[in-house]
């Protein structure tokens, strides 16, 4: 097992290098650039633009810029933001807790509720509950997240005034846990709604596949009680594709939710990404890409190991 994990981690190194080269190249190939914010200034001259290019190091060939950036990453210096001159790592890390909290809450709720709905839908296939769950999931997946977000704000913040419409804390109440939970509720619910829909569909189809297998029929014939059949025999087999799904979704814990964070003014990674993309903050975009790429690789590794732990038939290595 340890050998397998080490080997996978070694494989990750060229993968990360590949991701960084492709990402860096694409970013510089795309039209436009960070200097556009300066050209909006009517008094800036072409000489000024050239001067700023030199200050940012954008006058050098792209491969030189890449090598400098890569050496920096390798030695622990992620560079400085073009606008604000702040260390990129600090800029990213200060957004992680907010995103982790929002995505962690939404994903946890969604996984538990989604699995519950999916299992019940599979066990009671074609029942009223199953039809309602299927219709609800299609509804949740069909409408854009920003619509749910705006509706939630309209109903719960503007009309009922039960919950705040955005932000993470009431200003001046930073650190108060109850206040945080109030602010967390709406964005979590909106995000969870869409993830629940996904998870319920996956769970339902995975369980449907398993509960019609011969060994389940055999268990039933032996006279085992339904919960025992479901949780001892069906669950471990049905849950494997769901762990793979979790492996795909875990990186969102760190990459954030662009739309939801923007609508609710949640100070997370999604917002940072949107802002950095708008201003073409290359150092921040590259830092975020590497950060996310690492968690994609890491989460998939965790998922593979978890599946192996659950399924004795799978041998790693």
């Amino acid at each position: 097992m340890l050998h397998y994990v080490l080997r996978r981690m070694l494989h990750a190194v060229p993968l990360m290098i590949g991701v960084s080269i492709v990402g860096f190249g694409l970013m510089h190939l795309a039209p436009g650039g960070p200097l556009a914010v300066y050209t909006l200034n009517p008094t800036i001259t072409a000489q000024d633009i050239e001067r700023i290019k030199v200050v940012f190091g954008l006058d050098q060939p792209v491969y030189v810029q890449y090598v400098k950036w890569a050496i920096g990453m390798f030695t622990g210096s992620w560079g400085y933001t073009f606008f604000g001159g702040r260390p990129v790592l600090v800029v990213i890390l200060e957004r992680v807790p907010a995103t982790l909290l929002l995505m962690g809450s939404a994903l946890s709720i969604a996984v538990v509720v989604g699995m519950f709905v999916g299992i019940l839908g599979a066990v009671r296939r074609y029942s009223v509950f199953d039809y309602l769950a299927t219709t609800g999931a299609m509804f949740a997946l069909s409408f854009p997240t920003f619509w749910f977000g705006l509706m939630a704000i309209y109903v719960f913040a503007l009309q009922l005034r039960w919950l705040p419409s955005g932000g993470m804390y009431e200003l001046g109440a930073e650190g108060e846990i109850l206040d945080l939970l109030r602010h967390l509720t709406l964005p979590t619910m909106v995000l969870a709604l869409v993830i629940v829909a996904t998870w319920s569909r996956y769970t339902r189809s995975s369980f449907l596949e398993v509960i019609h297998q011969d060994y389940i029929r055999t268990a039933r014939a032996k006279g085992l009680r339904a919960p025992a059949i479901l949780f001892r025999h069906a669950f471990p087999n049905a849950v494997k594709p769901l762990i793979a799904l979790l492996g795909v979704q875990l990186p969102f814990l760190f990459s954030g939710a662009l739309v939801t964070e923007t609508i609710f003014g949640w100070p997370g990674m999604g917002r940072l990404f949107v802002d950095a993309l708008t201003m073409k903050e290359y150092p921040v975009l590259m830092g975020m890409m590497m950060f996310t790429a690492f968690f994609v690789i890491f989460s998939n590794l965790i998922a593979d190991v978890a599946i192996a732990l659950i399924d004795p038939r799978i041998r790693l290595g």
Binding site: T39, F83, W162
Partner: protein, 547 residues
Amino acid sequence: MARLKRISRRGAMKGAGALAVATLGAPAILPGKASAQNRDRVIIGMTQEPVQFNPLLYVNAGTENVPEACMFDALWDMNDGGKFVPNLAAAIPTRENGGISADGKVWKVGLKRGVKWSDGAPFTAKDVEFTYQSIINPKVAIRSRSGFDLIKNFKVVDDFTIEMELSRPFVPFMWAWQNMHIVPHHLLSKEADFNTSGYNSKPVGTGPYTLKSRVAGSHMIYERNPNYHRGPAKIGTVIHKFVPDQLVLYSQVRTGEVDYMGLTGVPYDRWAEASKIADREFFSVPQPWVQFIYFNCGKPQFKDPKVRRALYIATEMQKSLDDIYFGAWKRTLSYLHTSHWAYNPNLKDPTPNPELAAKMLDEAGWKVGADGVRAKDGVKMKFTCSTTAGVPARQGCQALFQQNWKKIGVEMEIKNMPASVVWGEYTTKSQFDTLLVAWEPTVGMDPDYTARAHSKQIPVKVGSGSNYVQYENAEVDRLLEAGVTETDPEARKKIYWRVQEILHEEVPFAPQAGTAQGRLKHKGLKNDRPNQYVTDATWNIQDWHWS
């Protein structure tokens, strides 16, 4: 290994279940505490977050003006009456008080005594000198050196007097210093790199507030500077809150989560609704920007002034303002707002007149072809119009102009792009056909328009300036050169009236409207005086107070 796997499997399942259940119960709907209006703080909401707190480095006017106004001071400010008023300077330099020499080249500025930086260090002429040196330092990523590049010699006469000699008289020089706030020599001169200095995150200024805390992506909190040289600010705490979605921010002003909505302001389609909200006050503020259609005079379709004027007069400009901006923006016929002191009131609106436009195009030799599109010498009257993608109001204007032009045999294609693309080399290297763009005058709100309209300011030809439309007119050149040296306001006015007349006839850019912003605030908030001469809603933040 097999044993490890058995234990791990059960452990993993139980652990995962316990974790999920524990998290599930956490974010339940909890009752909030009722919050009374805090009369010693004001919450200013904006859709954009500042990324620069060093006033010399800011790039996003509007939002980055807030830390600038809260923490820093300039030598002088522009007030809401359009007058310069002293701030760190003891008086506004004029010829009468001896601050400006008779030839307009030497400027002597006396500084206020007894001013302290918020860390207690004294403010002196050395700070002004250091600020100037930073501005002209090629290693500093400063947004503009306009005006400062004319300083031939900068001298510190004594601790509270500076003297600057210009290479030529330049009347808008006042604006250069109004727009640059002073940074501390004693802190920044020790920094190896001005652009990445730690100071930029924790600035120290002479302004009415100091930065208490910042939560990235959420808000910044400023506290009153008790030693402020113009007297302590009336409100103890200013919170600058960032709500990226304009509609959500509007909702937060309604719910009382925000006291003052700045920057993008209330969406135009909500102006009528906003004016009726209880306990809130809605008001419209003219903004320095004027929206234009830019014609690239370097392209064969737009070389002839008659063609540009024909295209201009075919457009339904007023209709675009009534239908798309709900009457919020005011029509202007020049690069200045109609309320600007140098605006030429004799200009007459020639739009819309499609019949005359068609006739003018015929006379200019652009005849309608078999496909219904005009052409001359093998060149079709077909072109693109670009602006920032995803701005519905501008897209609406483009669609209207497209229809207007189609009626006179002109084909326009909308080609919008992300801001970082369209305002990059596509604009600065004059690659566009036409642009729909909103720009302010070039040196503060001075009527000087050299950078935009002088023939020596075409970047694709001379490598500097921002005459992106490639407009050339010898008389305009002469007038613009005279305008920046003439000190008599009446004589200056006449010069710029003539500039506006010529631009009105030759239409290198077709003005649509002076922009305006709808602001919404709590009714009890007072003295937040709108100022059309600056981009900053908080220009007099130290004077704001609650009733």
